[in-house]
Amino acid sequence: MTLLVWALGARPLEVLQTIVVGALGNPFNISQTVIITGILIMTALAAAIPFSARLWNVGGEGQMTVGAVAAAVLGIVLPATWSPWLLIPIVMIGSMVAGALYGAIPGWLKARFDASEIVTTLMLNFVALNLATWVIFEVFPEGFVQRTIAIHVNAELPRPMEGSLVDIGILIAIATAVIAWFLMKYTRLGFSIRAIGANNPASRLSGVRTERVTVQTFLLAGAIAGLAGSLIVQGRDHSLLQDFSGNLGFLGIGVALVARLHPLWIIASSLFFAILRVGSNSLQAGAGLSPVVGEIVIATFVVLLMVTRVIRFRYPESVDAH
């Protein structure tokens, strides 16, 4: 990593300092880091839960997009006069339902037809992207630039700290992580997911209905990813923008892995990635590096963690066994 930074013509310590200051150096940057952390927690959970069942949901990006579309559409078409107590939860639930249904498509296809979820989720990312494009440009265009009109003020997530952009999304995200942890550890669904993940032949015997759990897992992951989209629209942007995602859906996969798929560790891991992501935006101003370098650093870092086996997966004992 150091060498990479050095090779691109900057001093590593300076880059490190720039990233940390850029992410945490003032209240504004901190607010950005906190907002991104909240979104990453969601997209990471949307990867971690299915990954625990060895279901490769690489469609978090698309499910998040559909959730964002739903949030924007509902936030625009529902009556503006509704109180925030009614409007905010309805829009959020709408996003979750949209994300869940979108996630259920690959889940059901996997369960019913054994269609590779890697392929279907990747393809559905593109479909979601075009759905968003359609809504942005044809259904609710802002009138001049590449975004929809703004959602109702009453549908916006509150920003409790005066003068700060931080909305309550981060609290929702942390709560979701805790619920996900509880669900994975103490409920029957969580047990089933882990049992499938361990590919334990006994799991079927002990009554785990693989097909059903597969669909449920994808519903759950899709709902959480959809909620990430709602955080972006209701919390951060207040409208649906072209290129709003910044690859946060894909990045969530890296976050989940660094946390070894553990819902609570995902909170810390998200914070770490958010610092890298937000901080690397200061590289240009601070160290004269293109901001894209931040992506290189993140990707290299995750791969290095895997290479050094800091992160690793449990795989079934033998693929020859069946």
């Binding site: 393809m123 759905l131 996969i253 290479v307 020859d320």
Partner: protein, 307 residues
């Protein structure tokens, strides 16, 4: 209005859009048959496109561009193989991270060296005897050398997988690695060349994109074609001929949007639908393609000694 010229153009376009996807998919088939799922082909295509444009612009040579793509495929393929095979990192995640890495790398290098320049390209070539045929001559006459390279690659993959000892052993490594090893095969050494071949093919797919369009590089120009290739491989059930057919199908479906734009009766359909259509069709096709499950050991890192 549908004219003959438009229908001919539709097929020219479909074949054109097929070639890069077909190349990447052929390479992916080899890698997957040996048991390695390389999701990093999207990034590999970008890198191949970049080095091709670099050579095309600085040396004004398409040939050097193709050679550079092959070299880049070998270098980065070896890197990926080291990660996938030697270090046993998770293949899906490594591949996705490699894609992000490649976007950043090519984007940075592009803005430093290549922005706003175009370079060497390849134009349509005449095959004696075909050029004079009605319709077919018209369509094929517009295709450049890379179409024929793709066909040659398909034949080579078919031969490699079905007619050589390597193909047989590699498939064993992809289906039952433990049995293969107890039978005296070296799974690691079988998978290495497969990943490298897959990467070289993907890089060549990237160089097609550049050589067919002005020779310039544009950040993100692969636009998800590597992911499409992943779908095509599954659809075609790892058979080279079917990879060509499904890649062509994808190209033609993508080409539909240009036909639709000229047929007034279809103007009510949102254009985004046409752009999304090939992906929707791929999902449906994956569902109904019989027996399209991955080789048993795909995606699972293999450690010597069985665990």
């Amino acid at each position: 209005m549908l004219t003959e010229a438009l229908v001919l153009a539709f097929f020219v376009i479909g074949i054109q859009l097929m070639v890069p996807i077909a190349m990447a998919a052929l390479g992916e088939a080899v890698a997957e048959k040996s048991g390695v799922l390389n999701v990093g082909i999207e990034g590999m295509m970008l890198i191949g496109a970049f080095v091709t444009a670099y050579m095309g612009i600085t040396r004004d040579s398409a040939t050097l561009g193709i050679i550079a793509a092959v070299v880049a495929g070998i270098v980065f393929g070896a890197l990926l193989a080291f990660l996938y095979v030697n270090r046993g990192t998770d293949q899906i995640v490594t591949g996705l991270m490699f894609n992000i890495f490649a976007v950043g790398l090519t984007g940075t290098l592009h803005s430093l060296y290549l922005a706003g320049q175009n370079g060497a390209t390849l134009r349509g070539i005449d095959i004696p005897g075909i050029g004079s045929l009605p319709w077919i001559g018209e369509i094929l006459g517009r295709q450049n050398l890379m179409l024929y390279l793709a066909i040659a690659m398909a034949l080579a993959v078919w031969y490699l997988l079905n007619k050589t000892w390597y193909g047989l052993y590699a498939r064993a490594a992809g289906e039952r690695p433990i049995a293969a090893e107890s039978g005296g095969l070296d799974v690691v050494r079988l998978r290495y060349p497969a990943v490298i071949v897959g990467s070289v093919f993907a890089a060549l797919g990237g160089s097609v994109l550049v050589l067919s369009t002005s020779g310039g590089f544009v950040p993100g120009m692969t636009a998800g074609r590597g992911f499409i290739a992943l779908g095509v491989v599954v659809l075609a059930r790892w058979r080279p001929v079917w990879i060509m057919i499904f890649a062509l199908g994808f190209g033609l479906t993508q080409g539909l949007q240009f036909l639709a734009a000229q047929v007034t009766a279809l103007s009510a359909v949102p254009k985004q639908f046409w752009v999304a259509l090939p992906y929707i069709v791929t999902v449906i096709a994956v569902v109904f393609a019989p027996g399209s499950t991955y080789p048993a050991a795909v995606g699972i890192p293999y450690r010597r000694g069985g665990s």
